[in-house]
């Protein structure tokens, strides 16, 4: 009798979380799982039973429904994978912690640096009220400017960057306190 190896993976790409089970059959792999985009929206992934052939830099994945030539590599942050030029990045999450609902993204209460670069202008100060589309700060990277705008009515709670400062991708620059309307509740 063959012993079956079964592994579980949780991957996150943007708002979507994939909970996957990988089974190693004698010469094939079987992948099943679900995709969760909201706590209520869970869709099964069409199960895939495929043979794998290594053909560096690709892995050929062959199944009755077709063949895909993919390339993938993982580092300490997650895994990059591409198929015919379409490239995706997945973050590895510990099983059970990755559901979008458990990590609520509060409606833009934090303005984070969308890229590594330099702050060239800060347009707001704590206590100031801002309207959607209002420019909060201006960043520069690779000689291009990028404006950070408010997406909703809010009050500026905290400004944690200053002009001329170099900031990293994802660094919190400004904290906003959105005005929550009754309907939105």
């Amino acid at each position: 009798m063959k012993t079956r190896e079964k592994k579980t993976f949780t991957l996150r790409s943007g708002e979507a979380v994939y909970e996957l089970q990988l089974e190693k059959l004698s010469s094939r792999y079987r992948l099943t799982g679900v995709r969760r985009s909201k706590p209520t929206d869970t869709k099964p992934i069409p199960p895939l039973e495929a043979e794998i052939r290594r053909q560096p830099p690709y892995r050929i994945i062959r199944a009755p429904e077709g063949a895909w030539r993919c390339a993938a590599i993982r580092d300490d942050k997650g895994v990059w994978v591409s198929h015919e030029g379409r490239t995706e990045f997945f973050e590895f999450v510990k099983p059970g912690t990755g559901v979008a609902a458990e990590k609520p993204i509060r409606a833009e209460s934090e303005i984070r640096a969308p890229m590594t670069g330099k702050i060239v202008a800060v347009r707001v100060h704590p206590g100031q009220h801002v309207q959607p589309g209002e420019i909060l700060a201006v960043m520069e990277a690779m000689k291009m400017e990028h404006q950070l705008e408010a997406s909703q009515p809010a009050m500026v709670e905290q400004v944690s960057c200053s002009e001329g400062q170099l900031v990293d991708f994802g660094q919190v620059l400004i904290r906003l306190k959105p005005f929550v309307t009754e309907e939105a509740r």
Partner: protein
């Protein structure tokens, strides 16, 4: 490559001039590597310069010699004239090729190179001044009867430009008076946005070129961006090498270019070429240059500006003319006569270039940074890759996010498009966000397939695609993800190779000894 037909055999007829023995390239990335390639073809020794951020960049190791010229910010390294000249002196280089961007269109640099007794591979400083400045170039074009887009003069003062721009009317386009590359370009649709746009654009321009003067031009829509490649020698000869269409742009920067244009017939080509050559001759232009035009739907064209340098998209011209533009540049700089005349230049087939950028098409093309973990280029007939990157290289935000160019040539446009698509689909670039998928989508799009591309096409398509729900991921991609190999850096890979070499030893292969004479 089968499509390159270099002019050979003509050399003996030209009075031999002194060819350089060593040339320094004051640039980085793919263009430095591209220039080294031709220099090697010509038997000329190569010198690289690099910043602290680029110590492991491919261009440093591709040259015969390399000199560290300063800290990562361009101002302290790739824009540092004194350091670059010092490297040239130390290496005994006789000429400096500036590539594109950085100091390539800076007449002070060209003059400093000449003062140091070296040759600048590019147009003479006075021609650069006359044409490199957009306002002055416009005036000159008008004088010789080349139509220009209605616009303002160049202003340093925000108030003056604002007043002039208001008189011109909206919508309009703000531009840097000096320099190109889309830096400082802003489309302004409404007067209320004008002030903010000018201030922001000026800051960008000041940082990029050290010159804050701006101009405003009337916005023409729908328009195609058509440019003519010119090449001149020091003996008064100028030839035009056909057009390139570069209408597919984002942030006013080109991403896909092709030659010839689907909108240019021979008669129009001749008109554009004549206008370009006339302008070049009026300022005694030499070396490579590009004259940019806007083409309106009714076939009328307007002069935009001259790029007094080699351009990013020069390979498509090389593929349809069979000429090596860098070789022509070097020969022109060395004082040689052009070996080709206008009649001898024929366009053959079709070429398309796609620019691979470290940027996120899903987030307004923001520059991305990261480490290249896996890289594979296609090797297909008719495909040329001008790359500036390698595996394990870290791409940071100090410099332009252009990583590489993928260029396809074929006898006709549709075949070239398919070749380029096949090449891009085979390309593997993992480790940082890039626009590979976006390039594929653009090449597959209906406007590109039909050849009806305008300067607003990329934006229109983006809006169309945004409303479409995203296609679900093929489960195979997920399977590949969970089976992915661990990234190993170069050292780890080397260690592994050594270990596997050891296991190749016949002693290891023999396995456990067994005594055959066991009773």
């Amino acid at each position: 490559m089968g499509s390159e037909r270099f002019c050979v055999g003509a050399r003996a007829k030209v009075k031999s001039t002194k060819m350089f023995k060593k040339v320094l390239v004051a640039n980085r990335g793919e263009i430095a590597l591209r220039i080294f390639r031709t220099l090697k073809d010509l038997g000329i020794k190569t010198v690289a310069v690099y910043s602290e951020a680029d110590a492991n960049a491919p261009h440093v190791w591709a040259a015969d010699e390399a000199f560290l010229i300063g800290a990562p910010p361009p101002r302290e390294s790739y824009l540092n004239i004194a350091k670059i000249l010092e490297a040239a002196r130390k290496s005994d280089a006789e000429a400096i090729h500036p590539g594109y961007g950085f100091l390539s269109e800076n007449p002070e640099f060209a003059e400093a190179v000449q003062r140091a007794g070296l040759v600048f591979v590019g147009p003479p400083p006075q021609a650069m001044r006359a044409l490199g400045d957009k306002a002055e170039a416009r005036a000159r074009a008008q004088k010789i009867g080349v139509p220009v887009v209605p616009g303002t003069g160049a202003y340093d003062s925000v108030e003056e430009l604002q007043a002039e721009a208001k008189r011109l009317g909206m919508p309009l386009l703000l531009k840097a008076a000096a320099g190109g590359g889309g830096k400082g370009m802003r489309r302004v649709a409404d007067v209320s946005e004008l002030m903010e746009a000018i201030v922001s654009a000026q800051r960008e321009v000041q940082a990029a070129f050290g010159d804050g003067r701006m101009i405003a031009e009337k916005w023409i829509e729908p328009a195609r961006h058509i440019e003519i490649q010119i090449m001149g020698d020091r003996h008064g000869n100028v030839v035009a090498l056909g057009e390139r269409e570069c209408s597919l742009q984002r942030r006013h920067q080109k991403i896909i270019e092709e030659a010839p244009s689907t909108a240019v017939r021979q008669e129009l080509r001749q008109q554009l070429q004549e206008a370009a050559c006339k302008l070049a001759q009026a300022v005694h232009y030499t070396n490579a240059g590009t004259v940019e035009f806007l083409l309106a739907p009714d076939g009328s064209f307007y002069f935009l500006e001259v790029n007094a340098r080699l351009q990013v998209e020069h390979p498509i011209t090389e593929l349809v003319t069979g000429l090596d533009l860098v070789k022509l540049q070097i020969e022109s700089a060395a004082g040689e006569k052009l070996r080709i005349n206008q009649e001898a230049i024929t366009l053959r087939g079709h070429a398309i270039e796609a620019r691979l950028y470290a940027e996120d098409p899903k987030r307004q093309f923001l520059p991305a940074s990261g480490k290249i973990l896996k890289l594979h280029w296609p090797a297909l007939p008719g495909l040329r890759i001008d790359s500036g990157i390698c595996e394990d290289q870290t791409i940071d935000t100090h410099y332009d996010p252009l990583l590489a160019k993928c260029i396809a040539w074929a006898p006709d446009r549709e075949q070239a498009r398919r070749r380029l698509l096949a090449g891009l689909r085979e390309t593997v670039l993992l480790g940082l966000v890039n626009n590979l998928g976006h390039l594929i989508e653009l090449l597959e799009s209906r406007p590109f397939g039909q050849g009806t591309t305008f300067t607003g096409t990329v934006e229109t398509l983006a809006m169309e695609w945004a409303s479409k729900s995203e296609e679900p991921l093929p489960p195979a991609l997920l399977l590949a993800a969970v089976l992915a190999d661990e990234h190993k850096n170069e050292k780890e890979r080397r260690d592994e190779r050594v270990a596997s070499d050891r296991s190749c030893s016949p002693w290891a292969r023999l396995g456990r000894w067994r005594n055959l004479e066991q009773p």
